[in-house]
Amino acid sequence: MGLFDVFKTWRSTTRIKSLESSMQGRPTPGLYLQLADAHKEAGNSQKAAQVLKLGAARFPSAPEIIRRQAEAEKIERENEKKRLIEKIQTHPNPILYARLAELFKADNELEKTIDTCQKGIRAFPKYGGTYLVLGQIYVEKKQWQEAVTQLEKSVELDKYNYLALKLLAQVYMELTRPADAAQRLEDILYFAPGDEAILELLKKAKEKAGQPFETRKASMSGQHAATSANKSGEQSGVRKTIRIGKLQNQQRGGGTSERDKALNDGVIALRTVAGVTGAILVDQYGLVVAADLDSSIDEGLAGALITNVYRTASGNAVKLNVGTFEEGLIEGDKGNIHIVQLDEMILAVFAKSDVKMGLLEKSIRDFASNLMQQK
């Protein structure tokens, strides 16, 4: 590194520190833009994009910051599409198809979205996330009947999917089926109690259906409860492990990738830490990717509950003045739950109250590090 480069690095670092210090006092849209530029000049585009994202969340009516953030996101999406297309060729898995379809959808490339979903469904017909993305497309096109078909399939495969259940309820309302909508909304309240948006929708659905506004207590609807009962035919206390590789084999006889193996091994390894009672990895659609839990815990329900807490906390982290969500620790009087955002997934580790925190945090960091290496 030459003298000029040293000087340039020193100048960038000093400028970043000075801007960060100004932001501690009174952040403004201008400061966010300057800080993003400083990170970009320092060669850290990812950090620049992160700063713009935070700025846009804090100042949603500042036009320049919104424009710049949209530009940065578009570039990120294009890079991610290329990566996913390559990955699908070499190590296909259902989440990759759903994620790619979502990126096409974000850029309004509807034909490509539908095509990607259909390919994903053909390859992995038992993954609910892809049906959800396809359902979203039909909702955008106001093709309600097609949307119902896809969303009902998504919910059939994953009875705790918040987004699919909510969207299905909204489509039922469009089709003047308010009683069906109310049933789906009550299913959501089972794992997302007190969700104000859902309560509001439920109130409207019940009004239209001529039903009194009272929520069902602690149960899923009949069809869902039956599915749950069929699933839990194992002895209580028996450890149950879901493996993504195993799921793929069931779906299409494919082999497991190194990444899938890393996920499985990582989740199982976490369970070996003294005091840890289980671990679960959930994707961005709330679907369980890997889990190692006691059979007394329904992994689908655990995934939905964790996703709901994550969604509520991460969606409001900026309002709470802590920036973007990185991790959370929930403490109950019988144990605690660590929630960590990893890549585009959420890892939750269940532990007893007396777990050695330092050891657990190290194990989670090791797991994250392995996952990133696989990426």
Binding site: K319, V322, G328
Partner: protein
């Protein structure tokens, strides 16, 4: 309540604190940084609903505390009976170091709210 928050805020690494009731209404607040109090209060209430639901369904008992670590700081939400004590912390702070002060403050808030 103000005296409890003022004492807690003197702890190294604490940027401010707030007492919110379960409906999200701010009872008292004391922050050294600019914050939208009503919005934070409402957010705390919805997070609490999600947390209590999760702990109940997974059978992990009563909610005691939730700590969120973000890119720009940390926030601790502590059960104080009919209210929640919310403490905003600096990003580099070790929560363990301020834990005792937060617990003491939550116990004092709980005691005071019984009066």
């Amino acid at each position: 309540m103000k005296d409890i928050l003022a004492k807690l805020n003197k702890t190294n690494g604490v940027r401010g604190s707030m007492v919110v009731n379960r409906d999200g209404i701010v009872v008292h607040s004391d922050f050294s940084v600019e914050i939208q109090e009503k919005s934070v209060g409402a957010v705390s209430s919805s997070i609490l609903a999600a947390l209590e639901g999760a702990l109940k369904r997974i059978d992990m008992g009563k909610f005691t505390r939730f700590v969120i670590t973000g890119s720009e700081g940390k926030v601790a939400m502590v059960n104080a009976g009919q209210t929640i004590l919310l403490v905003l912390l600096q990003p580099d702070i070790n929560v363990g170091m301020v834990n005792v002060d937060i617990k003491e403050a939550a116990a004092a808030v709980l005691e005071r709210s019984k009066m």
